[in-house]
């Protein structure tokens, strides 16, 4: 089995990949602006939803229940979809899914396809696999068109081109659509995209989509989108192939009630998506006459087997955790090395890859918890990050790793009062060559990462415990030590720099 997630197996570590992105002032401004806009829209509509917390709880409960009976619901979906005229294929990994899709396209005699935005296809590298067989995939989601024409990579699971601004988009369209006089107003840019895409919608006979939800009870597939280009891909071609991770199944049609409220609010700050498509199998003389669903594992059952991390599979790909993440805000999505970026990418990618790659990703978080708070299906991302860090330490670190040594030494110090107090004394002595005017500005080794942009106050003359001991002694003699706040209040008055 070859599990692959985009090019994450070859990607540099998060900290390395982040460096050039941090240098890119335009990208950082674009990401800040876009995430701020989406977040304020989300905050508004979530604030107008009095049962928001109940929706989160319900969404989480539906997903948790489904995952516990995933085999049953997938088989139920297969049966219902097949009965309605669809064909269901099972793919254990990226290569198998690509083989199935390529085989189907060839079977129906096409050398090009039109695509709705599907992160799952980016996960398995479908476009590249099609291209290798001489089949060209035309992206039709506006952001994906920008990415494809710009030879770029998507940086956000909902808005893949979030890192580009209008004038950058205009430049790409001018060059690739041969429109040298194109302006940069939204109207002109969408008109150009519309003209570019219409011709493909009408010509290409095979459509490829992802899936937001698979409904076990009815065998239906659901896709939500904002542009209507997806609806074109779902209805105009003669052949429709939908690729879906196995965690996309939900038990009942009625369960959509929860997700069609929580997903648009979380993803785009809308109360409802402009286009909600739900279809069941195939209808003679209406829409595609051949319908295939490819169910993808590609490491998902491995995640399912880990009770502590299973909640990762609750994800409905809304992107709210990306938009709220203070780390994503600085780097954008490319630092995460796969189609899945932000906090969800930091837990999903390394797990799909069985912790063999992407092991810097669980550390790409300050554990601030904003992602958990925003998640519409209550994935406790910080908890999963910590769990995965534990796996990284247990499975990867050699006993001679400097960090592991430092941590084990610290653990030995903290388990003994004598050693702790000795370490405090030793620290005060050992720091002297590094201290200048009460501050440390250039620390050696790993700690140098701190002092590159931050000062560190020198260890004080007296620890709290030494002060306490002295105070107890003085108290026993009937003359308590002057209270600390008195001294600190004095210091404030005397020395505004406080050090």
């Amino acid at each position: 089995m070859t599990i692959r997630v985009s090019e994450a197996d070859r990607a540099p570590s998060f900290q390395k990949a982040a460096l050039p992105l941090l240098e890119d002032a335009q990208l950082r401004k674009n990401v800040r602006h876009a995430t701020d806009v989406i977040q304020s829209k989300r905050a508004l509509v979530v604030g107008q939803t009095p049962d928001w917390q109940d929706l989160r709880t319900a969404g989480s409960a539906i997903k948790a229940h489904t995952l516990l009976h995933l085999d049953r619901y997938l088989e139920q979906f297969e049966k219902a979809c097949t009965a309605a005229g669809g064909h269901v294929h099972w793919a254990s990994d990226a290569d198998e899914a690509n083989r199935i899709v390529v085989g189907l396209v060839k079977e129906y005699g096409g050398n090009e396809v039109i695509k709705i935005k599907t992160m799952t296809s980016e996960e398995i590298g479908l476009n590249e696999a099609l291209e290798r067989e001489g089949i060209h995939a035309h992206e039709t989601d506006l952001a994906e068109v920008i990415i494809q024409l710009g030879n770029d990579k998507s940086s956000h699971i909902v808005g893949p081109a979030i890192h580009k601004n209008r004038s950058q988009v205009r430049q790409i369209f001018r060059e690739r659509m041969n429109l040298p006089n194109l302006g940069d107003t939204p109207e002109e840019l969408t008109a150009a995209a519309r003209h570019y895409l219409r011709e493909k919608f009408l010509r290409v006979k095979i459509g490829i989509s992802g899936a937001n939800f698979l409904i076990a009870e009815t065998g239906s597939v659901c896709i939500v989108e904002s542009e209507g280009n997806g609806r074109m891909c779902l209805t105009l071609p003669k052949v429709l192939i939908s690729l879906a991770g196995i965690e996309k199944v939900i038990p009942r049609f009625q369960d959509l009630e929860v997700f069609l409220q929580s997903l648009p609010r979380s993803a785009t700050g809308e109360r409802m998506n402009p286009y909600n498509s739900v279809w069941t199998g195939m209808r003679p003389d209406d829409g595609p006459q051949h319908f295939h669903v490819v169910l993808l594992d590609n490491g998902r059952t491995g995640i399912l087997a880990d009770p502590e991390a299973r909640q990762t599979l609750h994800c409905i790909r809304c992107g709210a955790c990306l938009n709220t993440c203070p780390v994503y805000r600085q780097t954008g999505g490319h630092a995460y090395g796969s189609s899945y970026s932000g906090p969800i990418g930091a837990i999903l990618t390394p797990q799909l890859l069985q912790m063999q790659h992407g092991t810097s990703l669980p550390y790409a978080s300050s554990l601030c918890g904003a992602c958990y708070e925003a998640c519409p299906v209550k994935i406790n991302i910080p908890e999963v990050l910590i769990h995965l860090r534990g796996r990284v330490v247990r499975e990867k670190k050699s006993a001679l790793d400097p960090e592991a040594l430092a941590m084990k030494t610290a653990a030995a110090i903290f388990t003994s009062r004598r050693r702790f107090e000795a370490a405090q004394r030793l620290g005060r002595i050992a720091q002297w060559p590094l201290v200048s005017h009460g501050w440390m500005r250039n620390l050696p080794g790993m700690l140098g990462n701190w002092t590159r942009v931050r000062d560190l106050r020198a260890l004080p003359e007296q620890t709290f415990r030494a002060w306490w001991k002295q105070r107890e002694k003085a108290g026993a003699n009937g003359s308590p030590t002057p209270s600390a706040p008195l001294r600190s209040a004095r210091r404030i008055v005397e020395d505004p720099s406080h050090g």
Binding site: Q330, Y363, F414, R454, R487, V493
Partner: protein
């Protein structure tokens, strides 16, 4: 009330003034403060970095020291978050029913400082005097784990002489994140730059929080930039009274 102080390892070692302020404040409010020198660390750094096995003895140590405490006061929301969010699960994984019960029994008696004041004692005006322009940063764990909301602000608003100014993006992470600031130093620096900008734009001379660790990070950057803003843990603002302040020029 008899209050057992868990000062936290970094306050003990690096920021004794915070602990001294906590003692002064609680005693001023008529409580008895106890400090057991056997205490060291809650285990947060180890646990959050992936060294969960190494954090376990520190849980046992904490439970042993405080099992009979009437109330435990911790002037750090992230250490309290470590206990509330992870101790029950850690204990459960040890298949030691006694430990699970001990953790369950102890946790309701563990309070972050401002929780202790507002939720347990029911006071907001602690009689403090702090004649400075101050801005308050809501640390991540205080907001999203302890759900403190405006509890610290309610205390600060009652301080005499204070000029309290709102911090924009008050609850956005400063980029500290424990070992994150070391392991992901550049990204952390970018997050810090945002936070410093917000703090400096308030025109405050003092930035405060319920966590000295976040303040160490924010102030570390401000000090490097010679920004003229200093840090004070909230206890250092709530402890002094008008009687404490020596008039300017009076000397040490």
């Amino acid at each position: 009330m008899r209050i057992s102080l868990f000062i936290t390892c970094y306050n003990d070692t690096l920021f004794p003034a915070t602990g001294q302020a906590v003692v002064r404040l609680l005693e001023r409010l008529g409580h008895t403060v106890e400090f057991d020198p056997e205490q060291t660390c809650c285990g947060q750094m180890h646990y959050n970095t992936g060294y969960q096995r190494e954090a376990m003895p520190l849980l046992r140590r904490f439970v042993d020291i405080y099992k009979d405490a009437e109330a435990v006061c911790v002037p750090s929301s992230s250490c309290v978050a470590m206990m509330r969010d992870h101790y029950p699960k850690m204990a459960a994984e040890q298949s030691d029913p006694g430990l699970v019960r001990a953790v369950e029994d102890l946790l309701p008696r563990v309070y972050e400082l401002t929780e202790l004041l507002v939720h347990r004692f029911g006071i907001e005006d602690v009689g403090a005097y702090f004649p400075h322009r101050v801005t308050y940063h809501a640390s991540c764990h205080s907001q999203r784990s302890l759900h403190l909301g405006d509890v610290p602000l309610r205390l600060l608003r009652r301080v005499r002489g204070i000029d309290l100014v709102d911090l924009p993006n008050i609850d956005r992470c400063c980029g500290f994140g424990g070992t994150f600031a070391i392991k992901m130093g550049d990204v952390s620096a970018a997050m810090l730059a945002d936070k410093m900008k917000d703090v400096e734009n308030t025109g405050a001379e003092v930035v405060t929080a319920v966590d000295t660790s976040c303040l160490m990070h924010i102030f570390g950057g401000l000090h490097r930039a010679r920004a003229g803003v200093r840090m004070a843990h909230i206890a250092e603002i709530l402890a002094p009274t008008e009687a404490d302040v020596v008039p300017e020029g009076a000397g040490a």
